[in-house]
């Protein structure tokens, strides 16, 4: 069995750790690129969202490298994601690529069913081994989140932000190579030391912007057109509503674990604006915006792939949240037609806007919300 898993930002690092630990061969698809997108778009329904198209591109690439099984997470509710694994399997089948599919989800809420599927994905290795692998992989996910947070902190403050990118890339490589818990800790520690050693701008306090929205566009820099990096280089400290370990914990482990940043509280925070689930992470987006508003962030950017239903619901609610917390919110729709230049112009203008707002408290009562559609 050669297993693969579609990309979502740094997720491949913990997933690879999981299968390495179980001594199951794991194929990391080539990173998301224009190539992935054009292959994926070619073989996907036009109305499918960007993450789906990238998934398909990843799977076709991985099959070429010899993968014969792919693992997906599932989901329930109005988001189409729950059906992606099966749809992707059928698309591959029509292309003449036969792949086994294992969906990691508790079928009808049954943890036992989930256990069975984990056991299947783990080639029926003993449970003790599987638990060890899960614990180890999860530790890597938490470590990755801590490193990302460090990078978010350091980018706007560094005199030479590119130095941070170099450290970040090295940390990704090292974390991937770390083969025990001590090594993971060591990577985080070393990365922190390296980041702190980079010369920082004098007397500079970056403005803070929260990024909320659909999980894939939040976590995958290719999908988000690298919005976190651009904001960092524009002198903005970013924070996200969802981190990888928080998502894994909520989505796969039903919240039984402890994540680096939990997502549980968002449902409660969203309640005055959106009292029930709308699928996907619509509630988390609203709750996350409330949280950033409470923490007095300077602004919030809402990311979603074009045609993402749960986030469209959230987008229509965010103006109310923005008004209540006096928080500028910018919504960016992203799909395969999105252009970097257009996104950059809007990011720059948004950063100008919040910087000027910060320096002129008189206009603080003005609240804004805008929606921008990129591409077709």
């Amino acid at each position: 069995m050669k297993v693969t898993f579609p990309h979502m930002g740094n997720m491949w690092i913990p997933v690879k750790a999981l299968f390495d630990y179980l001594e199951i061969e794991f194929i990391v698809p080539p990173p998301n690129s224009k190539h992935t997108l054009s292959v994926g778009t070619q073989h996907s329904p036009e109305g499918a969202c960007l993450p789906f198209k990238l998934n398909v591109g990843n799977l076709i690439d991985a099959a070429k490298l010899g993968a014969d099984t792919f693992v997906m997470t599932g989901g329930v509710g109005p988001c189409r994601f729950g059906y992606y694994g099966e749809l992707e399997r059928q698309i591959l089948h029509d292309l003449g690529i036969e792949m086994e599919l294992i969906i990691l989800e508790p079928p009808e809420g049954s943890l036992l069913g989930l256990a069975k599927r984990i056991k299947q994905a783990a080639s029926h290795k003993p449970w003790i081994k599987i638990l060890g692998a899960v614990r180890f992989a999860y530790r890597k996910a938490v470590a990755m989140d801590r490193i990302e947070d460090l990078v978010h902190w350091a980018r706007p403050r560094a005199e030479q932000p590119l130095a941070i990118e170099t450290i970040y890339r090295r940390a990704q490589t090292e974390l991937n190579e770390a083969n025990n818990s001590a090594a993971i800790e060591h990577v985080v520690k070393r990365t922190r030391e390296q980041v702190l050693a980079v010369p920082r701008k004098q007397d500079f306090t970056p403005v803070k912007v929260g990024i909320v929205g659909e999980i894939y566009t939040l976590l995958d820099p290719f999908a988000s057109l690298d919005i976190e990096r651009h904001l960092g280089h524009l002198g903005v400290e970013v924070d996200r509503s969802i981190y990888l370990s928080g998502w894994i914990n909520e989505h796969i482990f039903q919240g039984v674990n402890r994540a680096y940043k939990e997502v549980k509280q968002y449902k409660q925070l969203a309640h005055p604006f959106l009292a029930h689930s709308v699928g996907g992470h619509g509630q988390e987006t609203v709750g996350g915006t409330v949280e950033f508003g409470r923490q007095e962030f300077a602004g919030v950017i809402h990311l979603l792939p074009l045609s993402c239903m749960p986030e469209i619901v959230a987008a229509s609610i965010l103006p109310n949240v923005g008004r209540q917390y006096n928080l500028p919110v910018m919504t960016l729709y992203i799909d395969e037609q999105s252009g970097q230049a257009g996104v950059l112009t809007r990011l720059e203008a948004f950063v100008d806007l919040i910087n000027r707002r910060q320096s002129q408290p008189s206009c603080e009562r003005e609240v804004r919300h805008e929606q921008i559609v990129f591409g077709g």
Partner: protein, 326 residues
């Protein structure tokens, strides 16, 4: 010697240059067609500048080719067009609260309160509400674009045109022509459809309050101006330099950038004689396959951008990038 500031706005359709003096007065404004060749447009514009004994002591660039222009000229400040337009409008019409801007291929709305941008929206998906479409329709009807507005103003009873999409708008206009409607009524109907489309898309949910400034190339069209006044129930101000406001904003920002006595990075007007070339290639250093654009002057590389990791950075390009983040 007089101090002059040069603002350059290189957009998809037009390349605009403004020479501004130390007091903020516009000495010269140029509106040129980009025609898909921004480098040539910039050089052509520079050749037409009349310095009249003045000296350029600051340069700012904006527009979709702002980084390219900055690399070629040696700009002191690089700013996005939303900020540039807002700066110019505030200088020309103090107290402005709403800016309607319609250019060749994009349109935007900017809301200001107390002189600060508080909200904006920009639409580049659909060209139905922009200058290119008007251009195209004027061409089809055999009317000079300059006369479009005047003719529309003579309308007795504007017809309703479906303005949601330029393709449908065109077929609807042809239909109305076949029915025998008068040309002025059809043109006025088109103006109203465009304004409706703009307000429903770009302007949706925006708190539009006077004074309202209308700028961009399309502001020359009196028919559109009138349609805006009717739709908003507010007087519309079209500033003198309405077609070059982005460039004017850049010139103002350039004056700010060098105000602390800094020397301009401007390469000089003789930059026009140089042989600039823009080339692009795909970096194969990693799987990101970044598209790198490289701007060269003769044998020398002035700037490169497009890479995520920074390995293609050149000395000059970092100055442009830091300008963007300033």
């Amino acid at each position: 010697m007089n101090k002059l500031y040069l603002g350059v706005d290189v957009g998809s359709v037009s390349t605009n240059l403004v020479l501004m003096d130390d007091f903020g007065a516009v000495n010269q404004g140029l509106y040129l067609r980009t025609q898909g060749r921004p480098l040539e447009a910039i050089q052509k514009g520079l050749a037409q500048l009349k310095l009249g004994g003045g000296e350029i002591s600051g340069v700012g660039t904006t527009g979709s080719a702002r980084n390219l222009a900055a690399a070629v000229l040696g700009a002191d400040v690089v700013k996005n067009e939303i900020t540039a337009h807002a700066v110019a409008a505030s200088a020309q019409v103090p107290g402005v609260q709403t800016i309607l801007e319609i250019g060749g291929q994009d349109s935007k709305i900017i809301i200001l309160r107390d002189g600060v941008v508080s909200d904006f929206a920009m639409n580049t998906v659909c060209a139905a509400g922009t200058g290119s479409f008007l251009d195209q329709q004027a061409g089809r009807l055999n009317i000079a674009i300059e006369d479009f507005g005047e003719i529309a103003l003579t309308a007795q009873m504007p017809v309703r045109i479906a303005g949601r999409c330029s393709v449908f708008a065109e077929s609807d206009m042809i239909h109305k022509q076949q029915l025998g409607h008068h040309m002025p009524d059809i043109l006025a109907g088109l103006c109203e459809a465009m304004v409706r489309n703009y307000l429903n898309n770009v302007g949706k949910g925006k708190d539009i309050q006077g004074p309202v400034v209308f700028q961009g190339g399309v502001a020359a069209n009196k028919g559109i101006r009138k349609a805006f006044e009717q739709a908003l129930g507010l007087p519309i101000i079209v500033p003198d330099n309405f077609s070059v406001m982005g460039a004017l904003g850049s010139a103002i920002l350039a004056r700010e950038a060098v105000s602390s006595g800094k020397t301009s990075k401007f390469r000089g007007v003789n930059v026009t004689s140089g042989n600039f070339a823009a080339t692009s290639f795909e970096c194969s250093g990693c799987a990101n396959l970044c598209e790198i654009v490289q701007i060269g002057l003769e044998e020398k590389v002035l700037a490169r951008w497009g890479d995520r990791c920074g390995k293609w950075g050149v000395e000059q390009s970092t100055s442009a990038a830091s300008g963007a983040s300033a």
